[in-house]
């Protein structure tokens, strides 16, 4: 996966043949699959997008934090707390929009807490993130009551005309709002980081805070704001789980997605589109996995053995695939140079 993060340079300089090759290969594969099993193919692809939504949102959260130089391994916890409180807001108000906004605010608050610990109090950033993860599991587990019900969850919206295109329509243009939002946010974060003054400052602060300081940039303020924005993105990922995907809360329902997000962020070399590629991979493996469990008895004879595998084994597939790809195919990823380091001038 070759994502250029350069700006304002002639992009024709290097043609990303590998990327083009991979994507055309995938497109052909989809066409072939669609010709043989249109329904299953569309189902797998739709589910790929949905499954990848919390992952890409979490990864965007990580990108915002880490590009400004703050490690955030607390995304899992941020998601979980926001998922839980978003769910409660929904129970109390019955208004999905309010509940979603509430989850965003909760994310921002946890983000601010992370910023406070890692920037102002200079707690080791890995520890700060771990604190958030542990707190999240403990608090949501403690306050969770069974039997709470809500009036529902976000449902799909179809964009007229576009949604009628075969395959592409149902996959990209008929989705519930948070999924739509995540697709838009990929572009937004990319533009923010690589095309705006704020993004330039953010990256400068993450690479060389002293240099940013000497041109008058308030290093810690830039970091605070980015970590809070990151918290909101993680909060939206949490909202996706309880307000759009499942519709209710379960203990520890993030189930490692926050950590997968981090893996995907690294896979994507700290770029939004790169991370999206990684998220889709994870989403696809997940979709395939549930499709296999679902269609166990209808598999063609030469694949029948798959149906006999224990379901836990198939359930492992997305994680194994993600790790294998991460370990095997990604070249050396270079994190922002000042990541994890407190900035202090005197």
């Amino acid at each position: 996966m070759q994502i250029t993060e350069r700006m304002a340079r002639p992009s024709a300089a290097r043609i990303p043949w590998v990327t083009i090759g991979v994507w055309s290969g995938l497109a052909i594969l989809v066409l072939v699959a669609y010709a043989r099993a249109p329904l299953a193919t569309t189902a797998v692809l739709t589910s790929t997008i949905r499954q990848s939504t919390p992952i890409i949102l979490g990864a965007l959260a990580g990108i915002m934090c880490e590009r400004s130089g703050v490690i955030n391994i607390g995304i899992e916890g941020m998601m979980l707390i926001a998922a839980f409180l978003g769910f409660l807001f929904n129970v109390w108000t019955g208004d999905l929009l309010l509940a979603t906004l509430g989850a965003l605010l909760v994310g921002a608050a946890v983000g601010a807490f992370h910023a406070l610990m890692s920037i102002t109090l200079k707690v080791d950033q890995i520890i700060a993130g771990t604190v958030i993860n542990i707190l999240a599991v403990g608090l949501t587990g403690y306050f969770y009551q069974q039997g709470l019900t809500t009036r529902g969850k976000w449902s799909s919206v179809s964009i007229p005309l576009l949604a009628d295109i075969p395959v592409v329509g149902p996959v990209f243009f008929s989705n519930p709002p948070i999924t739509f939002a995540s697709l838009i946010l990929i572009v937004v974060v990319h533009v923010l980081l690589f095309r705006t003054a704020w993004g330039l400052r953010t990256r400068a602060v993450g690479e060389h805070p002293a240099a940013a300081d000497t041109v008058g940039i308030a290093v810690n303020r830039v970091r605070y704001i980015n970590v809070i924005i990151g918290g909101m993105l993680a909060g939206l990922a949490g909202a996706f789980l309880t307000l759009e995907s499942v519709g209710s809360f379960e203990r520890n329902m993030t189930n490692g997605r926050g950590f997968v997000s981090l893996a995907v962020m690294i896979f994507g070399k700290w770029t939004p589109f790169g991370a999206w590629g990684g998220s889709l991979l994870f989403g696809f493996a997940n979709a395939l996995q549930s499709q296999i469990q679902f269609l166990k008895n209808q598999l063609p004879p030469w694949l029948a053995w798959i149906g006999d595998l224990p379901p836990q084994f198939i359930g492992m597939l997305p994680y194994v695939l993600t790790i294998a790809v991460l370990a095997g195919f990604v070249g050396r990823a270079r994190p922002p140079a000042a990541i994890g380091k407190v900035y202090q001038k005197e």
Binding site: R9, T196, R201, R203, A211, V215
Partner: protein, 528 residues
């Protein structure tokens, strides 16, 4: 009497204390329109601190700053920038993975709304480049630029913000002589157009060449002011250090013995995969100093890194004391008795977040007397530190101070102290006196000669031709990754070396034998 130009910057009675040191004590300074004020002083005298205060990075404890006659409170760099003060820092402040244009506009971005528009910036950068003859490509990545080019980027960065008071903190420490000349031309064109410059350097020749006035600091206080017309190198050195300084190296005849370091057809690649050392063979004998001269970027850096195990040797062999240490680990190479003063002190020489004492045992902490089994002996480490701090005159409040708080030159002295005190059989010193004041250079040079006389083999790499000529017994000139020639130092002339460094063919094949470098008793002028 001609009216003097207006005073653009004035500092009155500035005092700044750090834990354990008074970095500036009632320092006053004036800077007039169109002049170059040079600031001289020993390592740790407080030059950088004073400049950081003027630029808003530090805040003075006492005293006031006036810009164009108006008392100002400089709360941070943005205040300084707004008032036309620009600073080029001792350690460059550029983001390596950004392009030149991105680095220049950072913090002063142009564009439509929140969106960046680099074209406007490129246009202005081109204008500035032309006006002041500062040649750079706005779209090049900073990490791909030479230090000289990076320096130009820093200067354009200040000019881009309309700075007319320019602070240059040791701008020439890492420049080649040609680049220094170019910088001086730039400074002259700046002051001709009405800008004022504060110039810090340890090289007295440069100060005499470029300054209109010279101010000397010692231990945080102003000890005098003079002009190039009244001063000489010798008088400046005395003013700085407070005693008379020997500007020459005294050394006796070398007594070379068996070879200690042997390189056999060594080739090395640089970070970009280009072969920058192309089959270098040489021998350094016990009891001699072999100097490698050459314009920076001809493979010297990579060669030293390869010998010391910091960079892979692609082909060829490296032998120390007859043992093959090609591609051995740095620890193993260090344990053969190889001391190394690396070129990049911040990156390779120190752990900035460790104390001075810990940095002084960075390559010996695990062995007696500093450790017994797996337990370190803090007392021994501290004693060792106190001894070296005293002997090498490291200006630090205490051995437990973090190295990051030391002045640039004192950081370098920590490394020198650690490596020279190891009493190894081989000393590899790359740019050992970069950023060091004259008084300490004198001492370090004496120590290097003492190492030789003790019987160590010394490989000296320096961009200062004067330093090479003053210390070496034999001089190898490196050009395009090859040893262009090896000459006995006694008979080598500046002109000859200069030609070889520029790629001229050696006139005769003299000097190929390693043993003809025995220098007669000589006292040579050392350039400062």
């Amino acid at each position: 009497m001609i009216a003097e130009p207006e005073i653009v910057l004035e500092a009155r009675n500035i005092t700044k204390r750090f834990p354990g040191v008074v970095a500036n004590e009632h320092v006053s300074l004036t800077l007039r329109r169109g002049e170059v004020l040079a600031l001289l002083g020993e390592n740790g005298a407080g030059k950088t601190t004073l400049m950081n205060i003027l630029y808003g990075l530090y805040h003075q404890d006492e005293g006031e700053v006036l810009i164009r006659g108006e008392p100002v409170r400089i709360g941070g760099p943005s205040d300084a920038i707004r008032r036309g003060v620009g600073m080029v820092h001792q350690h460059f402040m550029l983001v390596p993975v950004f392009t030149v244009a991105e680095n220049i506009i950072l913090g002063a971005e142009t564009g439509r709304g929140p969106f960046l528009d680099l074209n406007v910036a490129r246009q202005r950068i081109r204008e500035l480049s032309q006006r002041y003859r500062l040649d750079v490509d706005p779209d090049a990545y900073v990490k791909d630029l030479s230090v000289g080019q990076q320096q130009r980027v820093e200067i354009i960065k200040a000019l881009y913000r309309n700075a007319d008071i320019l602070i240059l903190d040791e701008p020439t420490a890492v420049l080649t002589p040609q680049e220094t000349e170019e910088l001086f031309a730039i400074i002259r064109s700046l002051t001709a157009q009405g800008a004022s410059v504060i110039f810090i350097s340890h090289k007295l020749k440069e100060v005499l060449a470029i300054a209109d006035r010279i101010m000397v600091l010692r231990r945080g206080r102003v000890v005098g002011e003079t002009t190039p017309r009244e001063a000489t190198e010798r008088s400046l050195a005395e003013m700085m250090v407070g005693r008379s300084v020997m500007l020459e190296v005294e050394k006796g005849e070398a007594h070379p013995a068996a070879p200690v370091l042997v390189l056999d057809q060594v080739t090395v690649l640089d970070d970009r995969g280009q072969q920058v050392v192309n089959g270098v063979s040489l021998e350094v004998h016990a009891g001699e100093i072999l100097g490698i001269a050459g314009v920076q970027g001809n493979g010297q850096t990579e060669l030293v890194e390869a010998i010391t195990g910091l960079r892979p040797v692609r082909s060829g062999r490296v032998l120390i004391n007859g043992r093959d240490v090609t591609n051995a680990s740095p620890r193993r190479i260090s344990e053969t008795g190889c001391a190394h003063v690396p070129e990049d002190r911040q990156e390779d020489g120190l752990v900035l977040t460790y104390s001075v004492a810990d940095n002084l045992v960075l390559n010996t902490y695990y062995a007696p007397p500093f450790a017994h089994g797996i337990v370190r002996d803090d007392r021994a480490i501290l004693e060792h530190a106190n001894l070296l701090i005293e002997k090498y005159d490291v200006r630090t409040p205490s051995p437990l101070t973090l190295v990051s708080a030391l002045s640039g030159g004192n950081k370098q002295k920590v490394i020198i102290a650690r490596e020279l005190s190891r009493k190894g059989r081989l000393l590899i010193a790359a740019q050992p006196t970069r950023g060091i004041d004259v008084g300490s250079i004198e001492f370090i040079h004496q120590q290097i000669v003492a190492e030789r006389d003790r019987g160590a083999a010394v490989l000296l790499v320096s961009a200062e031709l004067d330093e090479i000529m003053a210390l070496s017994d034999r001089i190898a000139v490196m050009y395009h990754g090859r040893i262009a020639a090896t000459l006995p130092a006694a008979s080598a002339t500046r002109e000859e070396l200069g030609l070889l460094m520029a790629g001229a063919q050696p006139l005769n094949a003299a000097g190929e034998s390693p043993m003809d470098g025995r220098a007669p008793v000589n006292v040579q002028q050392r350039g400062i």
